[in-house]
């Protein structure tokens, strides 16, 4: 039977500003694209969904930005403390669809976290396009360099790397014609744009979506996105979806 895990926090780091990187002991295997659902502590009722950023046989790493009440509370745990974690949840990325040429991972802001573990699994040819608001917020560049053939950075204000959106970089990079698949995670405006570009170019594209969640396991039906006119559960049917299955029309 499945169950929740009490996981010892074995390392904690602060990346740029308000981004916290945690590594916990974890008894189950997980796939890139899956997420965990974490209890944040007293006074925070619902769990918070966080992508698995990396994982090994008996550990798991996740990285999160401190946003509201839940992540603020979660950030207060220290090495040696135990976290109540449900997971791994959801479906991983479809690595088998990566194609023969170059797979591309593309992420914006907190959307980059699930892509690290993914890029490890996609093989050495993989390239990454990572977007940040400004130079000071650029994180994990070296780690992605370690797993990818090339890492393209974009900042909104041009203070580092390309100036502009990741989608601008994507369009440029696609021009070469050697991209066989795209895996994206980020804010929904970015996802809609990536979907369009990929579909126009007829390249396989998979998106990892974010939606407000309750249970994380498919029982409450709150976390829906639109797929072919119907509402489907992101936690259970996703969070990874083939871009063609997702409607951004409203």
């Amino acid at each position: 039977m499945k169950k929740t895990h009490m996981c010892k926090l074995i390392s904690k780091k602060t990346l740029a500003g308000d981004v916290i990187d945690m590594k916990v002991q974890f008894p189950e295997e997980s796939k890139p694209g899956q997420f965990i659902h974490v209890s944040c502590g007293d006074g925070v009722l619902l769990r918070r969904p966080i992508s698995i950023c990396d994982a090994g046989a008996d550990w798991l790493r996740f990285t999160f930005a401190v946003r509201g009440k839940g992540t603020k509370k979660l950030a207060q745990y220290n090495t040696g403390d135990f976290l109540n974690i449900l997971g791994p949840l959801g479906n991983g990325f479809s690595i088998d669809k990566k194609g023969d040429k170059t797979p591309l991972v593309i992420g914006g802001g907190i959307g980059i976290f699930p892509l690290l573990y993914l890029s490890k699994s996609l093989g050495a040819k993989t390239e990454a396009i990572l977007g940040f608001r400004t130079k000071d917020l650029v994180i994990m560049e070296d780690e992605f360099k370690g797993t990818c053939a090339r890492v393209h950075i974009a900042t909104d204000d041009g203070s580092y790397g390309h100036k502009g959106f990741v989608t601008d970089v994507l369009k440029e990079r696609l021009a070469k014609g050697d991209i066989s698949s795209i895996y994206a995670c980020g804010p929904s405006s970015m996802m809609a744009a990536v979907k369009k570009i990929a579909e126009d170019e007829n390249i396989y594209c998979q998106l990892s979506l974010e939606e407000r969640m309750g249970c994380g396991i498919g029982i409450c039906a709150v976390c829906v996105c639109k797929s072919k006119g119907e509402y489907v559960k992101v936690c259970q049917n996703g969070p990874t979806f083939d871009s063609k299955e997702v409607d951004f029309d409203d």
């Binding site: 929740t4 925070v44 009722l45 619902l46 839940g70 309750g214 396991i217 976390c223």
Partner: protein
Amino acid sequence: MINLEVDIAGVKLKNPIITASGTFANGREISEYYDLCELGAVCVKAITLEPRRGNKPPRIAETPSGILNSVGLQNAGLAYFMKYEIPFLRKYDTKIIANISGCTIEENCEIAKRLGNLVDLIELNVSCPNVKEGGVAFGTNPKITKEITKRVKENCAVPLIVKLSPNVTDIKEIAKAAEEGGADALSLINTILGMQIDVNTRRPTLANNTGGLSGPAVKPVAVRMAWEVSSITDLPIIGMGGIMSGEDVAEFMLAGATAVAVGTANLVNPTACVDIKKEFINYLDENNIDDVHEIIKAVKIF
């Protein structure tokens, strides 16, 4: 051995723990976390005649010790339920409660009729606050409550539970109306209508603007209503609203509930129902109670 068995209108539940409709889907997911035989009964997600798409997301928001939801009765419709969900649930030695939420009296009658005795109990949801077509209206007006209860009851092959809305001035009046309409049992409370506004975007946090409040925040209101209703009727009561622990179960039973339903807690912890059941048994044990009936309606009022 402690006797945990309770009787809801002739249907024997092996223990008083039921899942609250809409917080358990139809049991498939949770069946991977524990054996559904552990439960007194499974109350399934609201059923409508035709499939329903539900409301736009976001459909959930967290509030202090509670949640707001605006799922809007998304479900695959009666035919799907009968074809796939009943056979699945029947594999388990537990009772099935069908929560029906038609938009019209006729729709509810039709659903009840077609369910026949394929389920053990029918729970008529006259209280869902998320549907424009009248969901909430049924349960806030005693005349309509009585009428819909009567009509649906005529179409029920199994005992009928009426699920009451807390969004009323006098819950006793509505309970009485349901009893007069022929209800065999009452369940309460459904969610309390609430709203949350994001002060940065200035938008409601739910795309439906308002939603139903549930979870520990509402427990004092739910316990009060269970007690009020139990004081004016002898119908069995299924109490719910914010149950998170075994002591919460005891609190509702002391107030007058014969069984309880666990809702929001399932979202927080997939094993909530069995954890709560264990705690409840511990509570009975520590208090030397060998029959759960000893605590039903046993509150000593000042």
